[in-house]
């Protein structure tokens, strides 16, 4: 039984709706997976939520969704089966209310896809289901047992915001009020988007360079610049920035520096965790102290950028981000 194929089939939609892929979503219920770091970057959520609402699509979040818990699994604080159970609980709740689940965070996306992959191991699958079955013990409610079952052919399909925006790029471009005025943009995909293991299943997917961000930037009137550290990690590294900050921030520094070297005006990423590492003022200060150079390149999440380009108010795109170096400057340039 293949429990892994949760990803929305983009090629199929392109074939079915060559003119207007957005039509595929018209009669669907879309749910936005809530990423923890949206607390610091609310524009990441608003950016997509407002856009989908304007397109008159049916968009929601799920009250019963918990954190994806990937961070706890990566730090050995929960087992694979516990991680699996948290995932399946979330999937099962969201499956009840939505058809499509969208991700603004590489980490969450990878967590849910990977959590499912783990279930291909019969032992992990059994332990995961056992944990879910035990939930009835404590809660004397009619809903149990069987409230959470591992469902192999979930109706729910998962899609990363970047893949989604790319798929409906014409609708995105049509909704823009401003353009990027030929600004030079460095793109950062993030490891957990670049290194998806399922891509290895198809040689085509595996070999094809990932260029969706560059293509979107071009469509938005920007100028994507190539830089040496394009594919390198942001430095977060499953908390390496906490465990070994000097080494981790060296990676962050090299990445940002390499983008500054080619004259990039800003860096765009589809992941709030990468954004956090690349933009946090405290990290910038540490980098200056340790590596002797002040880096000023601003970093923006794709969803925030689309919101700015659509002419959304500051509160709906870059709110809470005023301390980030030069972010307002970019906002001004785009919207002047």
């Amino acid at each position: 039984m293949n429990t892994t194929n949760l990803a929305l089939n983009l090629t199929e939609i392109e074939e079915m709706y060559p003119e207007n892929p957005i039509d595929f979503f018209r009669d669907k219920k879309l749910c936005l997976f809530k990423a923890c770091l949206e607390k610091y970057f609310p524009g990441v959520r608003f950016g997509i939520e407002d856009f989908l609402t304007d397109l008159e699509l049916n968009v929601m979040t799920c009250t019963n969704q918990s954190c994806c818990s990937g961070t706890f699994f990566q730090r050995n604080l929960i087992t694979r089966a516990q991680f699996g159970a948290i995932n399946e609980r979330n999937l099962s709740e969201i499956n009840k209310i939505a058809d499509i689940l969208l991700f603004s965070c590489n980490g969450c996306y990878n967590s849910l896809i990977r959590g499912r992959e783990f279930l291909n191991n019969p032992d992990v699958r059994k332990k995961t289901q056992d944990i879910l079955n035990q939930l009835k013990n404590k809660n004397n409610s009619d809903n149990y047992p069987g409230k959470y079952e591992i469902v192999d052919d979930l109706k729910l399909k998962l899609v990363h915001d970047l893949d989604f925006f790319y798929l409906i790029k014409n609708s995105v471009v049509n909704a823009l009020k401003y353009d990027l005025k030929d600004m030079k943009v460095a793109v950062h995909y993030g490891c957990h988007y670049l290194n998806l293991s399922r891509d290895k299943d198809s040689i085509d997917e595996y070999l094809r360079p990932k260029t969706k961000l560059e293509e979107l930037i071009t469509l938005f009137g920007g100028n994507p610049v190539d830089y040496q550290e394009r594919e390198s990690c942001c430095g977060w590294g499953a908390s390496q920035v906490v465990i070994h900050p000097k080494e981790a921030l060296k990676i962050t520094f090299n990445k940002l520096k390499s983008a500054e070297n080619v004259g990039a005006d800003f860096m765009v990423t589809p992941c709030p965790t990468c954004l956090y590492t690349l933009s946090k003022p405290e990290y910038r200060e540490k980098m200056q102290k340790w590596y002797g150079e002040k880096l000023e390149i601003p970093t923006i999440h794709l969803n925030e950028l689309i919101a700015i380009l659509r002419g959304c108010e500051e509160e709906r795109c870059i709110t809470l981000r005023r301390k980030t170096p030069r972010i307002e400057e970019i906002f001004e340039i785009i919207t002047q």
Partner: protein, 175 residues
Amino acid sequence: MDESSNSEWNWDFYEELVDDVEENKNIIQCISCGKCVGDCPASKVSSFNVRKVIGKVLRGDKSVLKDSDIWYCYLCERCKRVCPKDNINIPLLIINLRNESFKKGYGPKYNDLRKYVEMSERFLKTGVVLDEPLGKKLPAERIDELNEICNFARIKYVFKASKSTTKSKKRKDKS
């Protein structure tokens, strides 16, 4: 230095790890090509060398559990992408090795996990790592479920450890 000079071939360690995480069986396919190391961010900033880690595991050299090296992995999955073999899952192996290291008491102390004490506490109390400023709170019944799921998990001990530290701190403050 000859990498395999000071230990004899011994499959016990490998078998233990496979017993624990079946997917680890695939590391036997490793052809030592080093592609994983060439592309590894951790190798650029530390002496972490994942090809050597695999070599040690295959030779039954448990010193790998004491090495600080395994704590440098970024779990970025780059190695998994570039490895010419299909199913070698290095990040999963690293998580498994860290788990063994934890069990033996070699892993980083809880003070390295300080940030996680807070995050774990919040997760078990609210179901999220950072307070959700944008929507409704998770219902109490769902939070109970998460606590049930995490029964006996290390996440609960980190939480308890934090409680005892705060208590002893308070006691100190009083005296």
